[in-house]
């Protein structure tokens, strides 16, 4: 009985959560004015891809889509590279000031990102990176959250694995690339998802750092669209679908790599 109640509750909350999503999907395939009715309609009648045509042909959202994609992929790659190196170093290397440095970095977590936006903007302006991809990539290179997560994961990797590789002749970089990285795949994938979603969905920072229309990312371009086309909910929903679909794909593809017992069998605990 308890099981049925639980399933019932889960089904109801899932449906409630998915209703807006399905409405968005349905509305994006409707003709102008068809979505603004009550009670809301979910199935487009007639089915039309006109909104997507407008989006890509007239409003040139494709350029913004590419901006978002390139930036999200690049930021994710750099983020994974730098956080994994730093996290590994903090977990497995002995160097002077390690604890102090790590604690200073950790304490920076309490500073809200909005507070750093102005100095960051000025810094990037001074470097000449405003309105370039670099303005998005550089602040996203690494953060303490990622470093912390990787460090915690690397701590669980036995030292003997690293020592065995060292005895076998591996250099520090080879150990990182051939032993640590493959073992850290679950946590790297988790972080990659966070980073990709964060960059893809970010609105405020691209709005500040990118000033040219052609450099806008999808969320910024869509918000501009909203101001111009407030009376076109169908067009808005088509824009939302274009924004959401890649995120869902990335999540679905990578979710199977989510943290799992990859370490099993390596060492006897």
């Amino acid at each position: 009985m308890k099981k049925y109640l639980l399933y019932g509750f889960l089904i109801i909350t899932s449906v409630l959560t998915l209703i807006p999503f399905f409405w968005m999907l349905g509305a994006s395939f409707m003709l102008d004015g068809k979505a603004s009715v009550f009670p809301p309609v979910f199935i487009p009648e007639p089915f039309s891809i006109i909104q997507y045509k407008v989006l890509f042909e007239r409003l040139n959202v494709f350029r913004n889509f590419i901006n978002s994609l390139v930036l999200s992929v690049l930021v994710t790659l750099f983020y994974i590279t730098f956080t994994s190196m730093a996290g590994y170093a903090f977990a497995k290397y002995r160097f002077k000031g390690k604890k102090v440095l790590f604690n200073v970095l950790l304490s920076s977590m309490i500073i809200p990102s909005q507070v750093t936006m102005l100095p960051l903007f000025l810094l990037l302006k001074y470097m000449g990176f405003i309105n370039t991809y670099m303005a998005i990539i550089i602040p996203g290179l690494a953060n303490i959250f990622g470093i912390f997560l990787i460090r915690q994961y690397c701590i669980s990797i036995p030292d003997s694995l690293i020592e065995a590789a060292r005895i076998e002749g591996a250099t520090d970089f080879q150990i990182y690339r051939k032993v640590i990285l493959p073992l850290a795949i679950p946590v790297l994938v988790t972080l990659a998802i966070f980073s990709f979603l964060g960059t893809w969905n970010d609105f405020l920072w691209p709005l500040i750092a990118l000033t040219d229309d052609s450099m806008y990312t999808l969320p910024v371009a869509l918000s501009n669209l909203m101001l111009e086309h407030t009376k076109d909910p169908e067009l808005m929903m088509a824009g939302s679908v274009v924004t959401v679909i890649p995120v869902i794909i990335v999540f679905l593809v990578l979710q199977k790599y989510y943290i799992k017992g990859i370490m099993m069998g390596s060492v006897k605990e």
Binding site: S160, E163, A170, G265
Partner: protein, 365 residues
């Protein structure tokens, strides 16, 4: 293969914690040397210093006649087998064994030959495509050994490789490693806390305690002529029995235990050697097998004991009793008619009694 020499090797942590003090010993070419001692005695640290995984605070380590103090592990031409196997979980057995050779950029064909050869020696041929998680403990340990073999190193280092295996497998692997040593004719240094492993595997045993090497000798010499009370108690299973007492008399010396439950006359030879201990407190040591129920010879003295526990092992029986309030154990041939609570007369062979200085613990026999 090569000789390994340690000269006054010390390891001090954070400038004050001395974990290894003046380690001196030589591992000859093709020799199997076992470092043995209780946990925390510095044996693993010594092995790690030979491997280059720990820096040496002072002293020198030679491998094949060359000082290796400053050499990184990869340039020492050694291979190490870890207690927890340390297999790369994302690689197959083949890849695990080939990893070191690939790093050295050895020709692929040569890698294949060497891996398959090692797999054959270790009966791992049918597991080459498996990942470590699909192997049993014993198989994993064999892969770890195989990873060492394929590199054909000058020296093999083993850090308690069998301590994670169950008792039966441990005995099996023990023989396999001994066979491997003969087959490869390799220099091997093996760390263990298990004195049985040490006794059965090593050509030579280094007994350590609190970072200090107590004795370096062959297994039988360690057993028969331990330099001190620690070595005497550590080597041998069940362990030697100890009892405090006093040497009394002038010419013909006797020993009397403090509680009075043992009193015996020393042999002429013993009296001669022990003359300077007359009227002094000492400790005697008696191995369990030197206490018997039948009088072995004229030079034996009897003790009346109340049997507390009997442990029949099939081929032999362990009998526990107390002397002067101290737990004693004797190893008797099968005695089906002995029961706990029995009062029996046991005999101790005088010439097999060890004498130790009460202050220093040194063997003064």
């Amino acid at each position: 293969m090569a000789e390994v020499i340690l000269k006054n090797v010390c390891k001090i942590y954070e400038g004050k914690n001395k974990v290894v003090t003046d380690a001196n010993f030589t591992v000859k070419d093709k020799e199997f040397v076992v470092l043995v001692g209780p946990s925390g005695c510095g044996k693993t640290t010594t092995l790690r210093m030979i491997a280059g995984l720990e820096e040496i605070s002072s002293g020198e380590i030679f491998i094949d006649g060359k000082v290796v103090n400053a050499l990184p592990p990869k340039d020492r031409d050694i291979a190490m087998v870890f207690q927890n196997y340390a297999l790369y979980p994302h690689m197959t057995v083949y890849e695990n064994m080939a990893f070191g050779l690939k790093l050295k950029k050895v020709d692929k064909k040569e890698i294949d030959v060497r891996v398959k050869e090692a797999a054959k020696i270790l009966s791992l041929e049918s597991f080459l495509d498996r990942k470590p998680k699909a192997l049993s403990g014993g198989q994993r340990q064999r892969v770890a050994v195989g990873r060492a073999i394929v590199r054909k190193p000058k020296v093999f280092l083993f850090d308690e490789p069998l301590s994670n295996l169950d008792a039966k497998l441990r005995v099996q692997m023990r023989t396999e490693i001994s066979k491997l040593h003969k087959q490869l004719e390799a220099t091997m240094i093996y760390v263990t806390h298990d004195q049985t492993e040490a006794m059965t595997m090593g050509n030579k045993i280094v007994v350590m305690k609190d970072g200090i090497i107590n004795q370096v000798d062959t297994p039988m010499n360690l057993y028969n002529n331990p330099v001190n009370k620690f070595v005497a108690g550590f080597i041998g299973s069940p362990a030697m029995n100890f009892l405090s007492g006093k040497i009394i008399g002038n010419d013909k010396l006797s020993f009397k235990s403090n509680g009075g439950s043992i009193k015996f006359e020393l042999t002429a030879n013993q009296s001669k050697r022990m003359s300077k201990y007359s009227d002094k407190e000492i400790i005697i040591g008696i191995r369990p097998e030197n206490i018997s129920i039948e009088k072995p010879n004229e030079n034996s003295f009897p003790v009346e004991v109340n049997i507390e526990v009997i442990e029949p092992m099939g081929n032999e029986t362990f009998v526990y009793f107390q002397l002067d309030g101290i737990q004693f154990i004797s190893r008797l041939r099968e005695y089906e008619n002995l029961f706990s609570g029995n009062i029996v007369r046991l005999f101790i062979q005088v010439e097999r009694v060890y004498f130790f200085d009460k202050e220093t613990g040194d063997n003064i026999n």
